[in-house]
Amino acid sequence: MIKHFLNLEWKQYFRSSYWQKNMAINIFMVFFALYFIGVFLFIGAFLFKIVGKLVPDQDPFKVVNYYLFYWIIGDLLMRFFLQKLPVMSVKPLLTLPIKRSTVVNFVLGKSALSFFNFLPLFAIIPFSISLFLNGYETSTVLTWLITMIITVLIINFLNFIIEAFSAESELSMLPILTVVGVLFSLNYFEILPMTTLVGSAYLAVSNNPILILVPILILAACYTYNYKLLRSKLFLDSSLKSKVTEVNAADLSWTERFGDVAPFMKLDLKLIWRNKRTKSMAFLLLIGVLYGLFFYPQPMYREMTFMYAFIGIFSTGFFLINFGQFIPAWDSGYYKLLMSQNIKYEQYLRSKFILMVISVVLLFVLGIPYVYFGYKILIAHFAAAIYNIGVNTHVILWGGSFNRKKIELDKKAAFNYQGTGAVQWLIGIPLMLVPMAMFGLVNWLVGFAAAVALLIVLGLVGIIFHKKLMKAITQKYLDSKYKMINAFSQDN
């Protein structure tokens, strides 16, 4: 039976059009993975020496164990955003003579083979070898190694339990933030010294191999719980009958003042508010506002005037970039309808344009408090906002005409590469690097005032030629109409 499953998996992976069409992303992901493997190998190989140098008077092995708590928390957090329970299309299997338990065990077993479980090994094994070479007892090192592997698996299954809860709650981030937050604050406010507890626990297990039963039992408990969760979901009615959400209707009549684009604006706002992927994107607005806080509190960045333009473009254009780069793929699910309906392409695009302009103005206004860090920052942000409105909106709309990737709206956003192609990576250059470079150069050669003026003038030119630019962009979309319809009706 497992043989059949593996065969199906193999075919599913290599025959998916996603794999075949996205070589660039695959290559990128491979490099990403290699990079992390390298980093972990380095850590694993030199950790013993580094810790020995940093805290010379303590046993490095103990020190490392005391920091394991942070690794567990970090790993859990990272997995939540990056790792998904492997999906298997179970519907066709349910009517076949296969035991449900086999299917569940296979899915869970497959999750144990995830890259996220192998990555820590690249650090753990070299570190164990270095322990061994430094004269630690073989039994201690081996027990520790095995305990660590079990820990990795525990984290693996714990993550799926957390994800199961977050799938059911409206605020999907809440469960993970609760777990991590509670653990972290318990430790931080010294209510429960988690670091010491965890550290001593690992040391205790390493010194008494029999205690390894405890982590094994925890792992078994996590696995069983996952098994029960999955098993209960493995019925046709639960997978066929998706959760019906109550409609949340808001009064959008204020859009009427935009005249003939109003229907599209209403549609766009509903699009953003009612779909998982776009909804999580709307929360990115908040990050956009707070983005400057990463930099400005540090005097080092405040002296680098050219950074003002970059942060300004980024924070006022955060929504613009995230929303704009997937125009028109947001509407890919019903693109055929739009193309056969009585609409003018230009109205459709202008609605997106207005939405982006509103977001830039809003983000700029919300960012006014940055004046606290210096009036120059506010001026630079203002110039960046004008540049965003005049230039970047048009650039991103133009770039959208190269979009050929469908987006399914009800998938999560973080690290969801669906709909991402080379265009999305390339478009970042003119959007952010070009204005930053121009600003930096003029600022250096002439002065701050001239650099600000340059961005504003460029932005104003874009605004003045808005009608003309939109016409050209619309033509670009019309030219690629058939290609887009065809691409959007392909399944990924």
Partner: protein, 240 residues
Amino acid sequence: MIYTKDLSKTYNGTTVLNIEELTIPKGQSFGLVGNNGAGKTTYFSLLLDLIKPTTGNITSNEVVVDQSEDWKPFTSSFIDESFLIGYLTPEEYFYFIGELRGQNKADVDSLTAQFEDFFNGEIIGKKKYLRDLSKGNQKKAGIVAALIGNPEVIILDEPFANLDPTTQIRLKQIIKDLAEKQGVTVLVSSHDLMHVTDVCERIVVLEKGNVVKDLETNPATLKELEAHFGSNAVVSQEEE
């Protein structure tokens, strides 16, 4: 009304549609039948300018559809679920289509009110998103949306599939009324020979992209169609 000349569509050397000449007069209820892969959906997609013809073109009301967009105001269609916007409620969807076709809310409401029977109380006022409706109910919403804004040409691909028997019968009446009383040109495709013969004044049979039969519907048409498709089955059995 709709004039097709030398139309063909070729994918990678395989011709999936090849129509020399086909004229559909105004107010005709026109049925397209054929087995899978006969080219029905391809023809409708060409009619809506969703794919580009390899040769030839279709003229609808003197507008060449792949050269001008002026056919859009008087043409409406429902091809498949990708014509629905999943995150809208049916009402919002109707209003959206209405707005695109210059109808205000009251116009749309009065139109959808006529279809209360058809909806069977499962569409309006349910506070559900279209993506959460069953296949059949999605189809009902899509078909009615295609009637908004007094279109002169209505294109429905497989409108009877997925509908329950009661709704099928109601839909047949709706389509008949459109053509007979309102002079709307209705194009319908179907696998169900009985339904098309009931509804359509004229039936064209497509086979591997070619028009093989063009019939005025009369009491003997159903028999003739059954004989045609039945003989295919016999032939293919013999070949095996």
